[in-house]
Symmetry: D2
Subunit: 337 residues, 4 copies
């Protein structure tokens, strides 16, 4: 079977794995007090130009989102997110389980628009309603779209106008930064967001995500919230080591770029064969529209996810590439479609 | 100022107040172990034909909703509700604060449609998503609409097909039962719902709501959940006394009917003057469409709530009648509109 | 049966009931925006000498405690309380249900000692542990004890030393203020506590408690938390009206004093008959030690609560007086003991 | 510096690491649907003799505890645990953050006694109190003690008598099973507990814990709760692979045994030098009593944790061995003490 199911099917990039192997039997301080984690904080501060940034490591994406939102929100405050957002749909109510409402808004290719934020804020004007306080976006989005610098600046301005925090879920930040459609740098992101996370699980790490907090108001006691949710990793050095390897020589973005390049090759191939797409293909997640018969035939040879049943009887499917994708995978897939 | 702001502005119906007065200085057992509360349980069992119904008393509507849903749902389960539902919009995230997601659906005049439930259930098919388990409706709805027997039966069938509980918020159940558009009896409601509440605050009581639980699965340990949320009233006799008075000679429904009758007079008067309505007026909440100038002029003489800014620049306002409304209030209002 | 079971068995003091009766059919603004609630705020500011005090009304004691602690604590923060405290034992985990740990300490007659707070604070020094932030005490305590001014000042100093808030559960504040052993004024309490509540349910009100917040840090968005927990009372005027009546001519403290006086008469009678007490009787809750046979005999004529089985085979029982207690109740009780 | 600080300072046993290395670049199904995880379930069923056991994998211990208790308890239910238990003291209120009260009991060397459970159950008899439902123990305990078969059978009988679940935190189950003082087999544990977890982080794994659920009532929808708390690991294969390696040829218990053997050598050496111990040394955590001067001197050469300040001015310190400890570490330590 050819694997296009997701970008977290296998382990770590060899450089990352090598780092784990080299230090495997060397004890280090626990709970992210180790030297590698400390070094990564310094690297991130240099890379983002944010000398006071706080850096934390968490083992997975849902855990990261729920810890951040639990930390950033007071009980009566809510988070605004796209109706397709991971926290809205695919985390089994993790955010609500921390007591917070998600105010979902219609989105375009998974992107949140300032005008929708304006509407939500205008509507929530009394103490009978929750108080919107965080805007959650993901880059790339659930549909693989990439925010432009102008879009992110507009969201920042909108958040500033309403006193909202901007939090970016970067589960696939590598693929955002690595996309040819991207014009945002890591510095841009760090200067525009109040907090964001750099996703390792889906790009190069064995596992793990890295939270970067910029806004002073969001920094105090974050580790308490982490531990309360079981998110302060005992062997924090494992996470420090991996992100150190990923940040060296910009491995992280380069892997994202590779994933995107395979995605673009795949999209080009499908386009050439006449397929259309539910969302414009710009990163490593490609959403072709197929007939049920095509989907069934494909499923005999390829691992992928069905995304949506379309009203006209067709299906949207999701094909995901990664830095590990090979030309033969693309060729194989195209042969069966 | 003429009062059309809501139906909970004043105190209790004289019969109810009289009951409180008569027993004011007579100590009774606490936490609803008093004789009046016990008597009301028997009355409800007789009135509904449900000999095993459990009855509980809670001081207010939001508290009732959050206690019921906290009791009926397991942590990963969610409640389906109209996007205009009180629990969705006007309870400051009370349900989410108990850890549960609300799956909101588009509704017609605040009514939930089985087809929307079907869609939600079909979409939530994996452990990445919450599990829909309760359907929340209110009768009358937030827009004053009244469910027909056929509609409620269809919802019941839909819930049965999907293994869902049906819970009815009866904050204005009196006005539903009392409406000339209603064909549901209390017995019908008790045979179709798994649990519902009978709202006293908005119709005749000084304060208080009465929960009726029919489904065996929802009965155990309900008092524990009540107490955990501060909803087990120390002087439960106050609530027992009031509902005893309200159920006697069907006072409750008769008061709802009076509220509705005033609402219909008001609607007829407005219609005669050429006003149109955002929602068909069938109970005690009337939603005429007015110009901004009209709204401003009216606000000098009448207490009411603005409901919505309409896209065409007009406003929808909400006028609410109660059993206490007087002909002179109607006349006065019509004079200013 | 003679009633010594508790001090919340019956309704309201006639003056309070009269206020409710007079305004029963007069609609007022809802959710504590009514004129009576506003007037009470002014009265409290005058009585406490705290011109910026915030005043809120909640229907019951457990609800008040959980709302206050949910509002005052961040998720990782905890409340220190006596191991006999109402929030520890008798609220079905209401505080934990809002996500917060209670750090219970051994107490003397239900009183929290600064030395115990010091120990708890010293122990909780890392992010593996919750952060103590509020000290919860009740006056009178669960055992009917009364804090002295010196004791409360010592607690205040201890809280200041550790950066803790001091919150006083005043379910029986009337009986504390009214006790002959008390040397605290309402001004003292308001100047020493960060927040406290004045309990109406157990002394003169039909129902209801009044929260007074002094510390600026605890004031913002309190109503949001109230509403989220179903504690913002729709007919707030009912609560405003009652506390207005209770504060007039110091009715509230006078009723507490009456309750205490009956308690002291009862205690004197029991002492004369040779009974000893589990806790020194200083207010309206009296805890004589009896044999099982005595308890059983008494239960045939008197309503009371068993408090504890003692290791020596005897029992501690609880007898509670109120402003409604009569000489014949005392005489009757003494005759059966 | 010689490392005796804990047993989770370094990475994985070479066999475990090798398994990760071999499959690193081979994509597998996600969220524990991979073949390795499935194989481990079969291994556990064979090893425990429990053909219907459910097996789940979670990245860390606090996360495991909070997920299990959130899954096993209804909102008003509580867990009984030793006052020294990890969930009581060292998880920053993680259990309370899921809404549940911990009923802490005095314990002997961290062991919960049936008599204490009896007392807690007897005390919690009304709906004013939480309902005890789970007994949490850890084996080894926080003090390194090991439960005997007779003790665990007595706890089981006690739980059965009261309708309680028995849950075992096996963060150091390897060291319990591997201790010369142990007479429990994995089969015994699986037949006596309702659920338990096998800790990998502290014995041989790079990271990860394995939950085994025996009681049918606790199995449904466990994955929903996992995901809601961010505990369903995307790359579940990493956990499956590791536990497959650990269970092969009983590597897990053998590593625990090695850790214990080093602990016993260390204890013997200290005893020979005249040190006494706060708790009888039976596994890999050794708690010698030292003077402050001794502790300070030792800290220049050895990494360890201070455990307690003793009333007599001495200190109890904690020294932890692991399968990685070497003779030279022991020799070095003894030289400095």
């Amino acid at each position: 079977m050819i694997f296009f199911k997701n970008d977290y099917g296998a382990g770590a990039h060899p450089h990352v794995f090598q780092a784990l192997a080299e230090h495997n039997l060397m004890p280090a301080d626990s709970y992210s007090h180790d030297e590698y984690s400390v070094a990564v904080t310094e690297m991130i501060r240099a890379l983002t130009g944010q000398a006071e940034a706080h850096v934390h490591f968490i083992a997975g994406g849902t855990l990261t989102n729920l810890v951040c939102l639990a930390a950033f929100l007071r009980p009566y405050e809510a988070v605004i997110a796209a109706d397709s957002a991971h926290i809205c749909v695919h985390e089994t109510g993790a955010i609500e389980a921390t007591g917070h409402k998600i105010l979902s808004v219609p989105a375009v290719d998974g992107k949140v628009l300032p005008a929708e934020i304006d509407k939500v804020v205008a509507f929530h004007e009394t103490d009978q309603m929750v108080l919107p306080k965080v805007v959650y976006i993901s880059d790339t989005t659930e549909m693989g779209a990439v925010y432009t610098k102008a879009e992110l600046q507009a969201l920042r301005a909108c958040c500033d106008a309403h006193g909202l925090y901007l939090y970016i879920d970067g589960a696939r930040l590598a693929m955002a930064l690595g996309s040819e459609y991207n014009d945002l740098s890591l510095q841009d992101i760090a200067s525009l967001a109040d907090a964001f996370y750099v996703g390792g699980t889906k790009c190069g790490a064995l596992f793990g995500e890295m939270v970067v907090i910029l806004n002073e108001a969001l920094k105090p006691h974050f580790r308490f919230i982490m531990r309360q949710h079981g998110a302060l990793f005992a062997k924090g050095m494992l996470l420090g080591l991996q992100f150190k390897a990923l940040l060296q020589d910009d491995l992280y973005t380069r892997l994202g770029s590779m994933a995107d390049a395979w995605g673009q090759k795949l999209a080009a191939g499908l386009k050439a064969k006449g397929y259309s797409f539910a969302y414009t293909p710009v990163s490593n997640m490609i959403f072709p529209i197929v007939t049920t018969a095509q989907a069934e035939a494909l499923a005999k040879h390829v691992l992928f996810e069905k995304w949506l049943d379309n009203p006209d009887g067709t299906q949207t499917i999701r094909l995901v590439t990664s830095w590990m994708t090979k030309q033969e995978d693309i060729d194989g897939l195209l042969q069966y479609m």
